[in-house]
């Protein structure tokens, strides 16, 4: 049994790598068609023609595009992401720290949001169409419908300004004690949890309800099992595939899509880093961050695929 699964995993990973190459071409092409000029953007309003010319020459912006693509790809493959044009800092090092921060925040949010969403989903199914179901769905949908900056400011207003329980800004840094770091990310993690909760909860509910239509659930009911046991033992395992899919999608969002929350809480993550460098036309950084984001997305989707296959005997043992 193990060899077909290994083969499957290898296949998926290989596909992922091919995909990543395709993405790298797209990213490179995309950054080439950004309007404006790197040197001009770096110097801004204060640019004199002399300073502009000096900077352009120093950055080597005159080579043709394909030459720069292969030079870049070669660097990436050997682990060298280059240096930021604007600050001259090593990109791999800068991204390392930022990625760690982003993963930490995403991790904190996920640890709360995923179990909570699934639990609420199960409860909603158990008491479906009753007041509890309606309450859970209503609250979750309401929290998702608010724009994330609104939820963020609301949390800041009450927890940081009014009651002063948690800090308003979540600046974290190297060497910060773990508990202090945890305290710093409470508010942004809570905001993110509220943002992603409803999607996962609703999908869990829908997936399980779908399974609940099956004949074997009816059998289980006729057997006299308690409703919560039916959901837990019979319905949920068969609904895992779609649930994992939506969970992975939301995890990917927590990693790549949280720039607004980062700005509001002044959290030094990848999103802010990317935005800063897009405005400065710092192409190597934009490319590197784009690639990291793409890799995260592809990886999480591979995990979702494989988990879905493992959870389904029919896919696990193809004829």
């Amino acid at each position: 049994m193990s060899s077909p699964i290994l083969k499957l995993v290898a296949q998926r990973l290989a596909l992922g790598v091919v995909l990543l190459f395709a993405v790298s071409v797209l990213i490179f092409a995309g950054t080439q068609i950004l309007p404006g000029d790197v040197a001009q953007s770096i110097l801004g309003q204060a640019a004199t023609p002399q300073a502009l010319a000096n900077l352009r020459e120093q950055l080597g912006l005159d080579d043709p595009a394909y030459v720069r693509y292969f030079r870049w790809l070669g660097g990436v493959l050997t682990g060298d992401l280059g240096k930021a044009l604007t600050s001259g800092q090593d990109i791999a090092t800068s991204i390392g720290g930022r990625l760690e921060n982003t993963l930490f925040l995403a991790g904190c949010a996920a640890v709360v949001a995923v179990p909570l969403a699934i639990l609420l989903g199960l409860l909603a199914v158990r008491y479906r169409n009753g007041p509890i179901d309606k309450l859970i769905s209503g609250l979750a949908l309401a929290s998702t419908s608010f724009p994330e900056f609104f939820i963020g400011y609301l949390l800041v207003y009450f927890f940081a300004v009014k009651w002063q329980i948690f800090p308003a800004i979540s600046t974290v840094f190297d060497g910060m004690p773990f508990l202090q770091r945890l305290q710093a990310v409470v508010l942004p993690a809570a905001a993110l949890t509220l943002v992603v909760l409803a999607h996962m909860m609703r999908m869990t509910r829908a997936a399980i309800l779908n399974v609940m239509q099956s004949a074997y659930i009816e059998t289980a009911e006729l057997k006299g099992l308690r409703p919560i046991d039916i959901i837990r033992k019979h319905a949920f395992p068969n609904a895992i595939a779609p649930v994992v899919n939506v969970v992975m999608l939301n995890l990917a969002y927590l990693v790549v899509g949280v720039v607004v929350i980062e700005v509001i809480f002044v959290y030094p993550g990848m999103g802010q880093y990317l935005v800063d460098h897009v405005t400065k036309r710092d192409v190597p950084v934009v490319q590197a961050v784009g690639l990291v984001f793409a890799a995260v997305y592809i990886l999480l989707n591979i995990v979702a695929d494989i988990a879905a296959i493992l959870a389904n005997p029919r896919l696990r043992h193809p004829k």
């Binding site: 801004g44 600050s87 002063q164 800004i169 600046t171 700005v263 800063d276 405005t279």
Partner: protein, 529 residues
């Protein structure tokens, strides 16, 4: 008057005003001697700097792409941090005069062409080396090199040669310049060991704080440098920290929540709300920054002075100031100078909104059809609203304005200084000469109104070389009148720097030169116990 006495009290606190001067100046404001005496004592008591603690600022204007090199220092955070770790030759006082720092004395030959800067002895760099005239010379060389990317390159281009003479640096200029000492107060000209030629990003100079944390776009930190040469005046807190907070709401929340002690850039529309927060003080000061509507004087239809005059008369400055800046500013008069500059003449008639005269000039210009005005949120806060308000007042004068909102991304490269009629921003300069030379002479790169008048250029040069202050003031008045009546800029208003300090922050002395006490807020303030 309260503001005035408060200001004087703060000067006392900061050790910049003696008892005699304080009593004299408050008497001039009509304060009785007894009251003034009490006020002086209070000011001295309240204002004895307390040492120690950690002072934190939450500042807008920092990106992860920033570097420490003072030559490339363009954003607010780097500007403020530079004042913590850097030391300049001279610095601007709140009243517009100069304070000598590394330069102990600056003098010139009568023709204002050769300047001698005597370098103060016993000042130490953070690497333990002593500041010498060679370091000063090397710094000016690095920033003034034609191949340099320094933002101070423009102001150093007038230097012909430099040499070290004993404990002094002697600078010979190509043309006379009475403002040369003011040029040395430019915040990019941080004196570094060997001019920073070895490693411009090392962050080593001779300021009150030594760089300990440098995380671009996130936070910066400094530790008090024990051997700072004037530690009694600057560097009261043991540590200073700057946290980059680009979001306006987050900045205010951080100040309210006590995570930071001071913030910059409070938006005018929330000032009244912030004022009500216990312990928070709004620190606002009129600066030299202004928000012009720029017309290209050499491009049709703006090459017609009657049309330019019509457009100037169609601006309702008072209303604009009230609506866009909510009163936190002062009206402009269509030339780039205000009372914050030395040698300003305050007797120039204020131009007012005059629909009838505007319509008359418009008719005389013979122009017809709509005029395209470009704006963007990045030009200045409220720039899109300002353009629309202007569109309405123009309509009252029979002038049709078409407002085009441009994307913020690329505004400074594609629109400003490229399109004939657009909104912009100028931060102001320490002297009138610098402002005119930067943007209103024929050869200036940033001549964003295409103002090319050989006779005006000559006036700028003549005023620059004039050491007689009265004659100079008269010359600047003449220039202002020409700009006002013939120039290509409409100035609705000058802005204010609006900062805020939190509970227990003492020693704040606002400075019209720049925000955050000209960047020294962290170094000059202390935390009251």
């Amino acid at each position: 008057m309260r503001d005035e006495t408060d200001y004087l009290s703060k000067l006392v606190t900061a050790g910049r005003l003696s008892r005699r001067d304080f009593l004299g100046r408050t008497a001039a404001l009509g304060v009785s001697a007894a009251l003034a005496n009490t006020m002086f004592t209070d000011a001295v008591k309240a204002q004895t700097p307390q040492k120690g603690g950690v002072l934190k600022a939450g500042l807008q204007g920092g990106e992860s792409s920033n570097v420490l090199d003072p030559a490339l220092n363009l954003s607010q955070v780097n500007f403020n941090f530079g004042k913590c770790w850097g030391e300049l030759l001279v610095e601007l006082n709140p009243d517009g005069s100069l304070e000598n720092r590394i330069a102990e004395e600056i003098g010139s030959t009568p023709d204002a062409k050769t300047w001698t800067m005597k370098i103060r002895k016993g000042i130490e760099f953070h690497n333990g080396k002593t500041v010498g005239p060679e370091d000063v010379k090397a710094t000016l060389e690095r920033h003034g090199d034609a191949a340099s990317k320094s933002a101070a390159l423009g102001i150093l281009q007038g230097i012909d040669s430099m040499k070290v003479d004993g404990d002094a640096v002697v600078v010979t200029l190509k043309d006379p310049n009475a403002d040369f000492p003011y040029l040395m107060a430019d915040y990019h000209l941080v004196i570094q060991p060997n001019g920073g030629k070895d490693d411009p990003n090392a962050g080593i100079s001779a300021g009150p704080y030594k760089v300990t944390i440098n995380e671009p776009g996130v936070r910066y930190g400094g530790e008090k440098y024990a051997n700072y040469w004037q530690g009694d005046k600057l560097g009261h807190a043991d540590q200073v920290e700057i946290i980059v907070i680009n979001d306006a709401t987050a900045r205010i929340a951080a100040l309210q929540g006590g995570q930071v002690n001071m913030i910059n850039r409070v938006e005018p529309k929330v000032v009244d709300l912030v004022k009500r927060v216990p312990g928070v003080t709004i620190q606002n000061v009129s600066g030299r920054g202004f928000y012009p509507f720029n017309m290209f004087c050499d491009t049709a239809p703006f090459d017609n002075n009657d049309l330019r005059m019509a457009l100037k008369l169609a601006m309702d400055r008072e209303d604009m100031l009230k609506r866009i800046l909510l009163g936190y500013g002062s009206v402009g008069n269509d030339f780039p100078i205000n009372e914050a500059y030395p040698l300003f003449s305050n007797d120039i008639e204020q131009r007012k909104f005059d629909p009838e005269k505007a319509a008359e000039f418009y008719k005389k210009s013979g122009h017809s059809g709509s005029i395209l005005l470009r704006t963007s949120d990045v030009a200045f806060p409220g720039a899109v609203d300002a353009a629309q308000l202007y569109q309405q007042t123009c309509a009252q004068c029979g002038i049709t304005i078409e407002v085009k909102r441009e994307p913020g991304d690329g505004y400074w490269s594609e629109v400003w200084n490229k399109q004939p009629f657009s909104l912009s921003y100028w931060g102001g300069r320490p002297t009138q000469d610098q402002m005119y030379s930067t943007a209103y002479v024929s050869s200036a790169d940033w001549n964003d109104t295409r103002w090319k008048r050989p006779e005006f250029d000559k006036m700028v040069v003549a005023a620059r070389g004039e050491l007689d202050q009265d004659k100079r003031k008269k010359m600047y008045r003449d220039m202002a009148m020409i700009m006002r009546d013939e120039g290509g800029l409409i100035v609705p208003f000058f802005n204010q720097y609006i900062d805020a300090s939190g509970k227990g922050v003492e020693g704040w002395v606002s400075n019209p030169a720049q925000e955050m006490c000209n960047g020294y807020a962290l170094a000059m303030c202390w935390l009251a116990a």
